[in-house]
Symmetry: C2
Subunit: 420 residues, 2 copies
Amino acid sequence: MRLHQGILQEGYNQYHANKHDEHSNPHGIINLGTSENKLCFDLLQKRLMRPDMLHIEPAFLQYPDWKGHSFLREEVSKFLSDYCRSPKPLKPENVVVMNGCGSLFSALAATLCDPEAKFTIFHNVTLPYYSEFHVALQLYFYLYFIVLVQPTGSDVRPFQLTVEKLENSLKEAKKEGLNIKALILLNPHNPLGEVYSSEELISFLQFAKMHKLHVIVDEIYMLSVFNEADTFRSVLSLDGLPDPQRTHVMWGVSKDFAMAGMRVGMVYSENRDLVQALDQLGCFHGVPGPTQYLMAQLLRDRDWLNSEFLPENRHRLREAHSFMIEELKKLDIPFLHRSAGFFIWADLSKYLKEKTFAEELSLWRCFLKHKVLLSCGQAFSCVSPGWFRIIFTDRLHKLQLGLTITLIHISKQHSSDPCN
Amino acid sequence: MRLHQGILQEGYNQYHANKHDEHSNPHGIINLGTSENKLCFDLLQKRLMRPDMLHIEPAFLQYPDWKGHSFLREEVSKFLSDYCRSPKPLKPENVVVMNGCGSLFSALAATLCDPEAKFTIFHNVTLPYYSEFHVALQLYFYLYFIVLVQPTGSDVRPFQLTVEKLENSLKEAKKEGLNIKALILLNPHNPLGEVYSSEELISFLQFAKMHKLHVIVDEIYMLSVFNEADTFRSVLSLDGLPDPQRTHVMWGVSKDFAMAGMRVGMVYSENRDLVQALDQLGCFHGVPGPTQYLMAQLLRDRDWLNSEFLPENRHRLREAHSFMIEELKKLDIPFLHRSAGFFIWADLSKYLKEKTFAEELSLWRCFLKHKVLLSCGQAFSCVSPGWFRIIFTDRLHKLQLGLTITLIHISKQHSSDPCN
């Protein structure tokens, strides 16, 4: 695990030292590895540079009251009430805002898990799983992630999450003496692009309730579902949660508002003790006053959100996604056809000389040598080698450069004359 | 320790629920407890609302490269070179920028101290010491602070820090089996307002070198020295540090730029391993892209800094300080006459019925009942009861309201008819 993390990090270092730019560095590395939406910077720039954004009150410059009421908390609760379609208005006092979901995960680990234990345990049940904060969290908390690896004959979708799998994994973890405290659910899922039905959601929440597990429901891609036919259901839209005191919903502006640089994430929880404990960590993970103002302005601008940004963003996501899947089809590459998130989970195993993770890494390196940064399956602890997450949320000519040319090139070359 | 922290927190909660405002809440609580400079919001507002501040580039909205070069790192190194009067230009790659000095302390604790130990130890040698992050840091790291309490007959100043005291405390700590890793030096000192001479600084640094201790030199009030006669010397201005690999200088915009709400702090260190380790924590403690831009603009605007903000700020600090010490003199209250920081360290022990910390707390409560929030000595682990830190960096009529009227009232009442 550590090994490939180091190698992947090396890929990001290479990218940062040699970023592609069509004018200044046309032979630089194209990043189809970081899950960012680069399709809407024009819309955001236009909105964020309107004069109403330039406003500084003395209160923004003073040390914020992380534990008290704030206008951002207020706006977030209204925003989540509307966009999660909550049956009743959500309460501002149940909202915690921090500088990104990484901080929230870290703070949740600190508060939900036993602080005395060397290994505080998270039960990560989705396969493949979302590992971005894995190493960073380990730095702070020695988290131990479990990856569940039981494919069953009854799966109707590839990599399907089922209560049966959850039950088996929990049993196995207990056998190993692990003290499982919480379950992380990703909906929409990264990197699968999967969206759970309300029946599935409820069954997972009931499983958690039965075993007294906290559930962190990460809905950070909830507004990036770009096919009208796919209905996303937030757990906050459910009529009555099975275990509201142990259900905590996460969202942020990094993905759905394409502003990872803004560092704003939030958790909604009815658990007062948890909210108060998280608030204690505001001094390390709070959002600066001026950023709070800016975000509140944006969240309350429903006209802009509903008439401009969100429909146009969905349109561009759909367009870029279509382009990418057509290219994959041309190359005869199998992939999961989903309509959420910024990525396609594709099976490039046909380019592996043998079905091993060492070969997967070698293919990943070959991409990098050809100036394309991707994420390979082992970064998500995928069980079968050859799966890659391909980000499609960049301008079309970059995608074309990054994928088509390189993939075609590699597909021709890799089978006969591998690049390493 | 825990007990009074809880009580003081209760004071802040009361303040946040009932803040004084001359128009909307004239009978609310006046905060002379939080070390914030409220004298220059007009200057800051004017500067921060100039059109050059409203600028958003796509790069600001993308996930920042915490480990790489950035324009803010560049500006910080130039700024520190100039304002710390470094003999040679400081290097951008030695700069770490985080969301406030609280995060930097926490990150330094995580990187300098043994992550496996339950108690990672900081040697805090100044008395009274700066305890703001104490409880918060404990949440994360189980820090254990040592307070040194050996007044000696040879002190030429009250609460003086000397190498002799450092030596004694280190011996005592070792006797207790404590593994001392680092020394925190505050210069200018909070709450004493003390500024160390270069000879003192060098002697402390040499002590640390001899015992292989890291030194975190917190210079967060370096530009808030308001008497021309007092010369502040940054350790970065010294010709050659005794142990550069173990000397780490901290600064931030919360105090000197009166912008605690902006959440921007920085460390300068020649220790590459340390800088790289701190950079790993950017994902939890990084500064948002738009805030980075805003701060870089401000740091490079030397015209505004040198001709407007800094001289006017010093002038206002001096004026407010003079007002406050005159009032203290009228009331015959002893205090340390210093010219740095936002506070006066005053001896109110004459209002104590007996010289105990319980009585000190009761006086503190009495102030709060009369709608003035102060910090009492035990919050800084002061050894003799009755010392209070009084913040003077608010508008004069507030200081008048907060101090004069209330103190006179209490001085009359407390001796004959204590309020609790």
